[in-house]
């Protein structure tokens, strides 16, 4: 097959295996990676939120500022945000066909993900470093 006139892909492109979008299986890989990470992380998040139900501001701050809780909460946010950004990107690519709207929404998706992610991480770090 290689070297045949019907084969326009170069050997290098085949070896790299990145396809025409130059991303290969990157989106799929990150989606599954964060999906697996999210299972224990979201369970931790649920447990944290439920145990803090009805707690005073002082108790919530004390709980969230414990290093272990803060570190795992940062992981929850980072993994969740990456997973969420990839998912919304897929939804946009599936349903929005006009280039202008699609690109605008893809940009908004990235802005939203970074704003929520940074906002939540900043809050966790502020609490962790003593409010």
């Amino acid at each position: 097959m290689s070297g045949s006139i019907n084969e326009l892909r170069t050997p290098l492109s085949k070896v790299r295996g990145l396809g025409s979008a130059k991303e290969g299986t990157d989106h799929f890989w990150r989606q599954r990676l964060t999906a697996i990470a999210n299972v224990p992380l979201i369970l931790f998040f649920l447990w944290t939120v439920i145990s803090l139900n009805g707690a005073s501001h002082k108790d919530v701050v004390a709980h969230l500022s414990s290093p272990i809780v803060a570190i795992v909460m940062l992981l929850v946010i980072i993994s969740g945000i990456v997973h969420m950004k990839l998912g919304m990107q897929t939804i946009i690519e599936d349903y929005v066909h006009s280039d202008r709207t699609k690109i605008a929404l893809l940009i908004l998706n990235i802005f939203f993900a970074f704003t929520m992610g940074l906002g939540a991480c900043f809050a966790i770090l502020k609490l962790a470093f003593g409010g």
């Binding site: 599954r32 999906a35 697996i36 999210n38 299972v39 979201i42 649920l46 439920i50 145990s51 139900n53 009805g54 501001h57 002082k58 919530v60 701050v61 969230l64 909460m73 946010i77 969740g80 945000i81 969420m84 998912g87 919304m88 939804i91 939203f112 929520m116 906002g119 939540a120 900043f122 809050a123 966790i124 502020k126 609490l127 409010g131």
Partner: protein, 132 residues
């Protein structure tokens, strides 16, 4: 682009609306809807964390909103979306290994996902009220 009319008059192949809903299909749609809902639910998580990091007064105000009837309704929906999306996701991870793809098994998994998501959500809320 040049011949927009010609392409827009083409008949569509059978679409979503002509099929009788089947469990696996409904779960697939719900998986995407809960995913999109959780996307916007992130605002609630960030808002809660930022309020805790801001001031006691602001935290109490946000807590008051979450504790209101509307707030609880939103959080209950958020909990269910989270649990359902997680169970649906685990189902996908199982499928990734090549298991559970037989027609009958996939249908059973679909029913298991919806039932378990409701049961787990209710249990989580019972625990939430119990620890309060």
């Amino acid at each position: 682009m040049a011949n927009l009319n010609a392409s827009s008059n083409r008949p569509l192949s059978p679409h979503l609306s002509i099929y009788k809903p089947i469990p696996t299909m409904v779960m697939s749609i719900i998986h995407r809807i809960t995913g999109a809902a959780l996307y916007f639910g992130t605002i609630l998580v960030a808002w809660w964390l930022i309020s805790a990091a801001s001031s006691e007064a602001y935290f109490e105000w946000v807590n008051g909103f979450f504790g209101s009837f509307i707030g609880r309704l939103i959080l209950f929906g958020y909990t269910w979306a989270l649990v359902h999306h997680m169970l649906g996701g685990i189902r996908h991870l199982v499928w990734d290994t090549g298991r559970g793809l037989e027609k009958e098994t996939a249908t059973k998994l679909a029913y298991a996902t919806i039932s378990a998501s409701i049961v787990i959500t209710v249990i989580l809320w019972v625990i939430g009220y119990a620890v309060n």
